[in-house]
Symmetry: C2
Subunit: 336 residues, 2 copies
DNA sequence: CTGAAAGCGCTTACAG
DNA sequence: CTGAAAGCGCTTACAG
């Protein structure tokens, strides 16, 4: 038998006061006689009373919970973002309600709807849904912050400046003497993948107008990096730099190159995107997106909007510029 | 102006029925006239009605949410566990309510209490709290599953068999010809750290009675592995195997050894514990704990207990035996 | 098959 | 300073 948790009525009875007084005493209102407060506190303690958060939020129309809807992210990417969010949320007395988003837009919409009435606001990361799909899926009437998602009118957003990141990478490779660069792209339909691809093409056109530039399709996963190298090797094309759309594909490419007996960076330089912790271990040159900060910042902005609803529409997009991290996969060749 | 979300009363009015009928129609009860149901569905749709989960759970005394209280875990460890939990929870229509647990037992207790009334059950991982502290912190009257935590009477638990894991590691090292092993331990007060340390001593006593065995204090973090190697080097003691209490310290040791010009595994073998994804990349021999499975299993058992409360006390402890994963940091020496 | 009513556990004007 | 009452948005016996 679980000893059915004490309710506010039990405390009221035990302290011989009304539930209203219990509520006021426990919530620290000033209009409570010190004696009453003491009695209530004692009763609550002796009964092991813990307020029922659900009832409280129904009454207050405030749950102090934030819904987080993320795609099925891999490893460190996921944990870094969630860690940042959790820290910020916890610091403000909020909880995080998690929901993995399935690729299917319909299921995603349902996941978001199922959060109504249990969260005060929503943080959504939907890089793989198009703008109209996202607009339809997002529940109306609940403050929402978008992370790396297509623009949705009137909602706050956090975005990584993918173009700037790739531009920095390309300039770095060109400066180190690389000429034949190929981009291993992320999955079709993913907004980050698209911007990185476009960024690559734009950077090449701008900084190395005469040079060849090529794109091989990928999917953000390690095997895609390996496959890209296999393709390149098959074709026997001259390549001295691989610009992967994310770290995992870069790592896959790295491994495939080494297995093929090609020296990195002497024969081919390799770069990633994200700077997951693994990148540091593998000496991968990449571009750093501070994921934890991005998550924390999204939460901070959302909470701000929740607690000062009047301030302003709040539909700004905040851009995070990734920073270049040069490591050993792109250092100057030993025999130029 | 957010268009204050429609409530069940709005739908009732719009469909010209009672709220009771709306509730029944929307919840698929059989005792509703088809015409009524159709009208309700149409009204709900046209008003964009989404039930208020908070009100629903107050009424049903069921939130379909599971509270998850974890210590501030690093990287992949965290994401793997949460991923496993989220998958399993999602499959059963449950949400996860996250709360990072601060080391402080008092704050931890508060974090757990703050979940009352918003979750149906709790999953707690508290390797760093002692048994009585945990018992005091755990809220009564809410089904709880413990992961890698001290025993708490009557609650279900999932535990990693740390002793078996270390035993497998030690046997493997001895079999590969190592003799002078040192254990780099985890933080004091952590139950996994303690069991791994004890397991190391026990395994040495059993399998290599005459051999030296030593323990250096650590804290599960990378630097601790580096420091341990520095200590060993300073003392000039003969060591040919380092058994770290987790992967991160093993990685730190690896790096320090290499920087000191010592070949791994020729001069010194190194092993970890956990098998985080990084371990594979670094070729680290370790012992694999399937974190995602552990998380999923904990959720599955909790949900089972929630939905079939009668079945049995449910206070069993389920042990997961980690499996040895041999990689390059322990291969046979080239010059024996 | 349907509706009026009570209830889930809180909070907060309102009246004393 | 205090209590009775209404209300938050639902669900579900209960009576038709």
């Amino acid at each position: 038998m679980k000893p059915a948790s004490a309710t506010i009525r039990d405390v009221a009875r035990h302290a011989a006061v009304s539930v209203a007084s219990v509520s006021r005493a426990l919530n620290g209102h000033s209009n409570v006689h010190p004696d009453t407060r003491a009695r209530v506190l004692a009763s609550a303690k002796s009964l092991g009373y813990v307020p029922h958060a659900g009832a409280r939020s129904l009454s207050l129309a405030r749950s102090h919970a934030i819904g987080v809807v993320l795609p099925d992210l891999h490893g460190e990417f996921f944990s870094e973002i969630v860690r940042g969010m959790d820290r910020e949320a916890g610091a403000h007395g909020y909880h995080l309600l998690l929901s993995n988003m399935h690729a299917d837009a319909e299921l995603a919409a349902q996941a978001m709807r199922s959060m109504r009435g249990r969260v005060d606001g929503l943080i959504v990361m939907a890089p793989q849904i198009d703008a109209t799909g996202l607009d339809e899926a997002l529940p109306a009437g609940i403050p929402t912050m978008l992370i790396n998602s297509p623009d949705s009118t009137g909602r706050g957003a956090m975005r990584v400046d993918n173009r700037a990141g790739i531009d920095a990478i390309v300039r770095h490779l060109l400066a180190s003497g690389r000429r034949a660069l190929v981009h291993v792209a992320g999955p079709a339909g993913n907004i980050d993948a698209r911007e990185r691809r476009e960024g690559f093409l734009a950077a090449m056109a701008r900084h190395a107008p005469g040079q060849p530039s090529r794109v091989i399709e990928g999917n953000f996963r390690e095997e895609a990096g390996e496959r890209a190298v296999a393709t390149l090797l098959d074709e026997g094309e001259a390549v001295d730099g691989i610009v992967a759309a994310n770290d995992m594909m870069a790592l896959g490419a790295l491994q495939a190159l080494r297995e093929a007996g090609l020296d990195v960076p002497d024969a081919v330089a390799v770069t990633g995107f994200d700077d997951v912790p693994l990148a540091r271990y593998m000496g991968l040159t990449t571009v750093r997106v501070h994921l934890a900060d991005m998550g924390a910042r999204a939460v901070a902005r959302l909470i701000d909007a929740l607690e000062h609803p009047s301030d302003r529409p709040g539909g700004d997009t905040e851009w995070l510029t990734p920073t270049l991290v040069v490591r050993t996969t792109t250092t100057e060749r030993t025999d130029p």
